[in-house]
C-alpha cells in the first residue's frame, strides 16, 4: 500500500511539474522529455548543429542531482558497475534513435496523451509491443549478469559533471549554443527548470517510478504498482490541460509531433524493447545514474551520442514526419537490440541461479 501511495504521489508530482514548466516556457506537451532534453543538451554542447534544438536543459541536471541527494540522504547511494556496459551503451544509443523517430521519450509520450495527441496513443501501442518483446527475452533467460560494487568516488563523477554543466550554463554561456527558434529556444527560466528537475528526480528516486516498468510488471508479474504511477501522470496532466485550455484532441497539427502512425509505432517499440533489456526507461536511467549506477551512466552517454548522431546524420523526425535515414536507423536498431538480446540469453535458469 505504501509503495502504491508513493508512486501515485510521484506521478502527481511529475505531472504537476510538467504542467508548470510548460506554462512557464517549455514547448507544448514537453514539460519533461528525457530524450528531447538530452538531445537539446547535446546541441548546447555543440555535439550537433541542429539550430532548433540546442540548449543545456537544467531539468536533466536537476533530475540527476535530485536523485543523488535523496539517495545519499536515504543511504541508497551505492556505486556499482560492470553489468554489460558496452551493450548498455548500444541500447542507450538506439533507445534515443527510437525516441527521436517518435519525437519523445515514454514520459513525453504520456504528456502528449494527456494533451490529447492521439499519435502518442499509437506510440503507446508500439511501446507496449516493444515491452512485450522484451518480456519474451526475459522469459527466455535474458540477463546482463550482475554489477559489482566500486569505489564511492566513481559514483560522484556523474553528479559532479551535472554541477559542471550548470556552471557552464550560468557562467560561460558564450561557449555554448542556444537555439534562437524552435523547441530549443522555448524553455522555462533556469531556476524553475532546475527546481522542477530536482523535485521530480527526488520523487522518482524514492518511488522507483519507471515508465517502462509499469507496463512490464503488469504483464510479467501481475503487479500494477508502477503502472498506477504511469496512469497518475496522465490523469494529472489531462486535468491540468483541460483546466488551462491546452487540451487539443486529434492526430493532426499536434505540437512537436508528426502523424506517421507506422513510424510512431516502430520508434516507441524500439524504445520499449531497449528499456526492458536495460531494466528501466530513459528517466529511470538518469535516476539510477544519480544513485551511482555507472552502467546507467554509460547508457545515458549512449543516449547523448545517439542524439548527436541523430541530428548530424538526419535521423530525427520533424513535425513534417520521419526521415528516410531515420527509418533505416530504426531498422538497424531493431537488429542490433535483438542481437544483444539473443547473445545474452543465459540458458533457461531452472532454479533461478544462472
Amino acid at each position: 500500500m505504501k509503495a502504491k501511495s508513493l508512486v501515485i504521489l510521484a506521478g502527481a508530482i511529475v505531472g504537476i511539474s510538467a504542467i508548470i514548466l510548460t506554462l512557464y516556457g517549455n514547448p507544448a506537451n514537453m514539460g519533461f522529455c528525457i530524450a528531447c532534453f538530452i538531445r537539446d543538451t547535446a546541441g548546447g554542447l555543440r555535439m550537433h548543429n541542429a539550430g532548433v534544438v540546442q540548449y543545456i536543459r537544467p531539468e536533466i541536471i536537476g533530475l540527476v542531482l535530485g536523485s543523488f541527494i535523496v539517495a545519499l540522504a536515504g543511504k541508497e547511494f551505492s556505486p556499482r558497475a560492470g553489468s554489460a556496459p558496452a551493450s548498455r551503451f548500444v541500447l542507450g544509443f538506439f533507445m534515443m534513435i527510437g525516441a527521436l523517430m517518435f519525437l519523445g521519450c515514454p514520459l513525453r509520450m504520456m504528456l502528449r496523451i494527456g494533451g490529447g495527441d492521439m499519435n502518442a496513443i499509437v506510440g503507446l501501442v508500439g511501446f507496449t509491443a516493444g515491452i512485450l518483446a522484451g518480456i519474451g527475452f526475459l522469459n527466455k533467460g535474458f540477463s546482463f549478469k550482475r554489477a559489482y560494487k566500486i569505489s564511492k568516488a566513481d559514483g560522484y563523477i556523474f553528479p559532479a559533471i551535472q554541477v559542471a554543466m550548470l556552471v557552464l550554463l550560468l557562467g560561460t554561456p558564450a561557449l555554448l549554443a542556444f537555439s534562437e527558434e524552435g523547441p530549443g529556444s522555448m524553455h522555462a527560466p533556469v531556476a524553475f527548470a532546475l527546481v522542477g528537475g530536482l523535485v521530480v528526480g527526488a520523487a522518482a528516486q524514492k518511488s522507483r517510478f519507471c515508465t517502462a516498468g509499469g507496463i512490464r510488471d503488469a504483464f510479467l508479474l501481475k503487479d500494477l504498482t508502477l503502472l498506477i504511477g504511469f496512469i497518475s501522470v496522465i490523469l494529472v496532466v489531462l486535468i491540468g490541460n483541460l483546466a488551462l485550455g491546452s487540451f487539443h484532441f486529434g492526430f493532426e497539427g499536434q505540437p512537436v509531433a508528426h502523424s506517421d502512425g507506422v513510424w510512431n509505432f516502430l520508434g516507441m517499440a524500439l524504445v520499449g524493447l531497449a528499456a526492458v533489456l536495460l531494466g528501466g526507461c530513459p528517466l529511470r536511467q538518469l535516476i539510477l545514474s544519480g544513485e551511482g549506477n555507472i552502467d546507467s551512466v554509460i547508457t545515458v552517454v549512449g543516449m547523448l551520442i545517439g542524439a548527436a548522431f541523430s541530428h548530424n546524420f538526419g535521423l530525427a523526425s520533424s513535425a513534417q514526419g520521419p526521415m528516410f535515414n531515420g527509418q533505416i536507423a530504426v531498422v538497424i536498431g531493431f537488429v542490433a537490440v535483438a542481437a544483444i538480446g539473443f547473445l545474452n540469453l543465459q540458458g533457461r535458469p531452472e532454479k533461478g541461479d544462472a
Binding site: 553489468s83 546482463f144 510479467l220 508479474l221 503487479d223 535458469p349 532454479k351 533461478g352 541461479d353
Partner: protein
Amino acid sequence: MLIDARGRACPEPVLMTKRALDSNSQGIEVLVDNITARENIRRFADNLGYQIIVDKKGEDYLLKLFK
C-alpha cells in the same frame, strides 16, 4: 536454497525469486544488495502469500521467504 541476486538489474531479482519458488514452493532465501530489490521481492512475496523476514548482512540483505 539460497538465491544470490546481488548486483542484478530490475526486474531480475524478482524473476529469480519467482523461478526459485516455482521449484521450491515451501520457501527460499534470497540475497540482495539494494533497497529496490528488497522492496520488490517483499511486495512479490506478499502477493503470493509468503511470510518474509529481512536480515541485514553487512551491506546486503538476506530475505527469508516461507509459507
